[in-house]
Each structure stands twice: as structure tokens, then as C-alpha cells.
Symmetry: C2
Subunit: 380 residues, 2 copies
């Protein structure tokens, strides 16, 4: 635990990775988590206390209703304050804390409420847990397990494409036209079999992939690339993984084959440059430069942003998008041993469609270790 005066968080640990990382307690409803003088506390709804005691890693769990009632008595108030501000104020009063720091994502409404109740709130400019950037062996293990299932799901989707037949401008499987929805379903079901939750898997055929977060829909066409980006979360460990492949049933055009090779080459350059001490932005710049050198320009064309339109990668952990972002960030942001990032260059043009290739890697002493074990092959 980080040593600091008093550090308070309030969030649902389903959506706030910091409070999950700090408390080890997973809950849909927001709760309070306090670190103070080397100890830590949770305040949760009364009926969640026994579960919090069993599942969290804190020193003490206080039931919010009981705490608020005791605080009411102590202050001789008319009624207990059962709002989140009331919970927090009761907790701080009981511990005789007047000054407390909170993370930047703390809700401003609660800050104002606590200030009105006489507390002094300092907003931390630092990340709550800088060590979240550096993954432990256990964390790498959790993420690798998810990545293996991502690969299994990708294989299931490829198998459907493989088994389909080209009938004019459609792919036909078991007498039905194969769609993006079919591939997404088999991917998400394959993951769910293992308790891994993919809510928004991208299966974007052809020009649909020009918007990199377009989920994709409708028939898969022969001779057309499909971007498949799978980034699910384990319902057990709550860690994410992330992988993208671009595949095609049929024969790629010469332009598409060239575009695919360019993305492969850019990814290779990115992967080869990552090691401790290297500025993150230089990797992104090298990837972008590789595309320019090969003649692939980025910018608005026909009213749509085309080319290499996103960053090169991002950290992955308890959030799908964590620091470091591998993009045009300040040059002081450097790779460090134990960071776990994606490397996912892509090129997107109306007409040829999208190509993205994404691996998940961990930064080691001498360079990267690729956690991804899946071939990169355009044609199925």
C-alpha cells in the first residue's frame, strides 16, 4: 500500500480500476475505500459487509448504515445521513480525519459536499497507484490466460470462414449467408464458455473497418478483408486481453496484399523498438514514418479520415485502455520493464478496407516478450 496521509476513493469497482486494485473488492455499487497510516478501510452497504470481509484485502469493513446511525447519535442529528457524502463524513469523523486527498476521477459533487461539511479535500494529480503500470508476474499470468482464450475464439471465427463456400458475392455456411453477427456470436460464445466476457467484439468487413471502433454488421463478402478485434475481460480475475487479426476468404487484390504487408512491417518495427528507456512516442513516430515511406498517407479524403488514424497501442490490465498510450505523448513517457502493451498499427482506406494487426506484449530487459501466439495470415 502506498504511504500517504489519508487517501479516499468512492466508486464502483466494476468501472474504476483503481478502487478495484486498491481494495481487491469487486462490486457493482459504489463504495468507499480509505487508506490512512498504513491501514485501509471499506464502507459498504450493510448487507455487503460479510462478502467484503471475505473477498477484499482491507483491514476493516464498516457497514454504512450502522456507521451513519452511530454518527447521527454522536452529532445528535435528527436523522442519519445515508448519502455517500454522509457515509464518507461519518467515516472520516470516526477516524478523526479532517484533511483527505482524493484521485482526479473522484466525483466533484462529493467533494463539494464534504467541503461543506468542513473537510479539507486535496485533489491528487498523481495516478492513485503508479505501480499499476508495471505488471507483476501474477498479473501477466492472468492476462496471458485471457489472451489464450482470445486466440481460441479467433480460431473458432476463422474456422467458420474456412468452412464457408464462396457463392457469387456471399459466403455460405450451412445454407445461410455468413455475417459479421455470426462471427461475433461464435467469438463471444467461445469466450463465455470460459467465463470471459466480450461485450463489443469488432468484426468489421471491408469499408466498415475504416471507423476502427465500428463493430461491423451484415454479410461478409468474399475477397474482402475483415478486421476482427477481440478485447474481453475475465469475470473471475477482471483482467483484460486484446488481439486483432485481419483475415479474408478468397483472393486479396494486389493493393490489399501490399497494404497488409505494410501493416505487418510497421508492426515489426514497433515491436523491435520497444525496450526499457525508449520514449514511447518515438515508437509511434517510427510506425507512422514507416507508413509514409511506403506511400500510405493519413488525412481526410472524401470527407472521411483515412490512413493510419489511431495510436500504435496502449497498456492493458484491469482496464482495456491503460497508460501508456503509444502515441504522441510527452517524450518523458518511456517504456519500463513490466509494462504490458498492445502494438496494433492499422491502415484504413475506403475501397480496399481496413487492416489492423495487434499483439499483446510485455516489456522485458532486452525487448518485448510477445504474449500472443497466433499466426498473422491474411488469406484463410
Amino acid at each position: 500500500m502506498v504511504q500517504r496521509s489519508a487517501f479516499l476513493q468512492f466508486a464502483s469497482s466494476e468501472v474504476d480500476a483503481d478502487i478495484l486494485y486498491g481494495s481487491g473488492f469487486f462490486a457493482y455499487d459504489p463504495f468507499l475505500y480509505l487508506e490512512y497510516r498504513g491501514r485501509c478501510w471499506l464502507v459498504v452497504a450493510d448487507f455487503e459487509c460479510d462478502r467484503a470481509r471475505a473477498e477484499s484485502n482491507v483491514d476493516e469493513v464498516w457497514p454504512a448504515g450502522v456507521l451513519a446511525a452511530e454518527d447521527q447519535e454522536h452529532r445528535r442529528a435528527k436523522q442519519p445521513d445515508l448519502t455517500p457524502v454522509g457515509w464518507a463524513a461519518a467515516m472520516l469523523r470516526r477516524l478523526k480525519i479532517r484533511r483527505v486527498s482524493v484521485p482526479g476521477q473522484f466525483p466533484v459533487g462529493m467533494v463539494r459536499g464534504l467541503e461543506q461539511a468542513g473537510f479539507s479535500i486535496q485533489v491528487s494529480k498523481e495516478p492513485a497507484y503508479p505501480r499499476r503500470l508495471i505488471k507483476t508476474k501474477d498479473e501477466i499470468g492472468c492476462i496471458t490466460k485471457v489472451q489464450r482464450q482470445v486466440e481460441r475464439a479467433m480460431r473458432a471465427a476463422e474456422a467458420m470462414l474456412h468452412s464457408s463456400r464462396i457463392v457469387k458475392n456471399r459466403l455460405v455456411l450451412a445454407g445461410r449467408t455468413l455475417t459479421a453477427e455470426d462471427l461475433r456470436r461464435v467469438i463471444n460464445l467461445t469466450l463465455m464458455e470460459k467465463g470471459i466476457v466480450a461485450a463489443q467484439t469488432v468484426v468489421a468487413p471491408g469499408d466498415q473497418a475504416v471507423d476502427p471502433h465500428n463493430l461491423g454488421r451484415g454479410p461478409i463478402r468474399p475477397h474482402q478483408p475483415v478486421v476482427i478485434d477481440i478485447f474481453p475481460r475475465s469475470s473471475g480475475t477482471h483482467y483484460f486481453a486484446d488481439m486483432t487479426r485481419t483475415v479474408l476468404k478468397g483472393r486479396p487484390s494486389a493493393a490489399l496484399s501490399k497494404q497488409y504487408r505494410a501493416v505487418l512491417r510497421a508492426q515489426k518495427i514497433g515491436l523491435s523498438m520497444i525496450r526499457p528507456g525508449v520514449a514511447v512516442r518515438t515508437v509511434h513516430q517510427a510506425v507512422a514514418e514507416c507508413f509514409r515511406r511506403l506511400g500510405y498517407e493519413t488525412g481526410e479524403r472524401d470527407g472521411r479520415l483515412q490512413g493510419f488514424t489511431h495510436s500504435t497501442g496502449h497498456g492493458v490490465g484491469l482496464e482495456i485502455h491503460e497508460p501508456p498510450k503509444i502515441g504522441l505523448v510527452p517524450s518523458s513517457v518511456r517504456f519500463r520493464k513490466g509494462m504490458l502493451v498492445t502494438v496494433e498499427p492499422g491502415l484504413y482506406y475506403l475501397g480496399t478496407g481496413g487492416v489492423r494487426i495487434e499483439d499483446l506484449v510485455v516489456v522485458e530487459e532486452q525487448g518485448i516478450r510477445n504474449l500472443t501466439r497466433y499466426p498473422k495470415k491474411l488469406t484463410i
Copy 2:
């Protein structure tokens, strides 16, 4: 759209239902959404602009990178400010807005940053969209569709229990011991087939259900109740649904049968009382009173909170837990036509185990309309 001076939100619409409701744009990464003089704007990453224009319901979509660069030129700054504060400041400067209000859940770090940049920030104490409380016909339709799939998933789980055989203290299906994990898997897969995402389905046998949010694990025992609580979200519409049943393979003890009938009776009382104008807390109090009258006490026993330990229900919509909470809330909170809530009393005792029965209902002129079409029967 609500008419107010300038109202700014910043969040991921995956986790913040207000920004999703306001903008109609679903995205994992946080973005800015502004309402001002009857118009609304999004600021998103450059590569998300085309998708935002196609999928959102706003008047204008601005690319964050381009906006920051223009702002840099305008201010003759050394570099563009690519932080969320920089995006927001550039947006507000371009629209010549100096004062802006934000919702209570807005991140305090951004408020401090914007204040330092010279903006005046007012924190709204009201919900961003009071009309979210009252569901439209379309919203009720979306939620009902999810509830039908929840029922299909519940049937799949019951079918497994039904097909299993009692062998001493285990249930055996296809030669294997039936577990909570097996039932959870079939439920989550049944939902995922239809693009409905259940991440944390509760299948809690026996005493495990005494913690109402305990997910449950291990073998299902004969003659022992299993609390099955399914509350998934549609990956298409992003609306939730929610249903709980308590079932048992074998023969219930007399104590358990009595406990089950008590919960049924309490639910009936709750359902019968709900209509526009009724104070929400009186329904919760009547449910609690019903249990007391029947001899079921609530409190700590053997170091564990037991009895009727949670509230009677909650609103459901773009969040799984929305207002109104049917609990000890101020008596000014009253049911209104179009509210959509769960009614889910439960009793939890070590030894007999947990019983919870939950329906999803909509408040109409004369009382409730139950959106749930699933029998309530303890023994399978």
C-alpha cells in the same frame, strides 16, 4: 434536450448512463458532451468522429486533435493541450463559454483544471436527466426484450436441474456433479447467443446466498435452495433487465417451504401497493413489516447479518441500479407512472439458506404491470 445555460459531461458512455442517454453515443473511451442553447456537441478522438457522426444524436461532432491544434494556434501556445482538460478548454473557448455546469459525478480533477484555466464551474445538484426516471414506451420495449431472454436463460438452468439425478448429496447430470458454475455457464451462454451480456450472474446454493451478492460456486446439493439472479445488459440497446428465482431439486424442509411462502407473500404485498403517488418507503416498510409479523427477524446472528437484509427493489434502465431505490429513502420520493422497478424481497438464514423472488414491473395509472412472465415455484 433540457434547456439550461451550458452543461458539460465527460465520461465513457459504457459506464456513465447519463452521457449515453444524452448523446446516444456508445464508446469505451471517455469523451466530452456539451449542451448549450438548445444544441449539443461531442468532442471525441479524431478517429472516432465519423462513427460519432453516424451513431450519435448530437448536432456537431468535433475531432479533439484538430480542435486542440486550432486552439493552440489561437492562443499562440507552444504545444496543443491533448489532455481532457485541454479538449474541454478548447471547446469552451471556441464557443465563447466562460461558465458551465457539470453533473455531480464529473471528475474533480477536471474541474480543478478548468478552474485554473479561468472557467467558472457550477456543480449541479440535480440529476442530469430527471426524465430518465420515467421510461418511454420504447425503453420499456427494450427492457422487456431483455427480460424475455432472461426468462429463456432461467428455463435453461431449470432444465439442467430438472434433468439431473439425486445421488446421495450430489446432483448428477451426464455423469458429472452439477455445480453453480455449470448453471451460470448455461445462463450466460443462452443470453450471449442473443447478444445479451451477463457478466456476474448469481447462482448461490444454500448458505452462500446469505450474502446476497455472493456469486455462488461448487456443487448444488439436493433439497437445498439455489438463488438464481440474472441481470444482464443488451449489447445492442444497452438496457438491462433483472429477475431472480429460488429453486430446489428434491424436497424442501418445512422451514424452507414456510420461508419461501413468506417471501412470496411479502412480494405480493409490495406489488399490490405500488401505484403513482405512493411513497416508496412505505412499500419497503410494509414488506419488512410482513416479515416481522410472520416471525422473521433481521439482524446480526452468529456474527452474520441475517433476515431481510437489503432493500425491496430498485429502478432498472441504462443502469442495473437506478433510482428509485425502494428502501428507507425520504418520504418525498414517490412512485410515478412510467417508473420501472424490481420488487425483490428476500430472507436469508444460515442453515435454511437464502430465498429471493424478483419481478420487474412498470408503474401504471392503476398499479403495476408485471413485465415478468416466469412461474414462481420452489421445487423443480
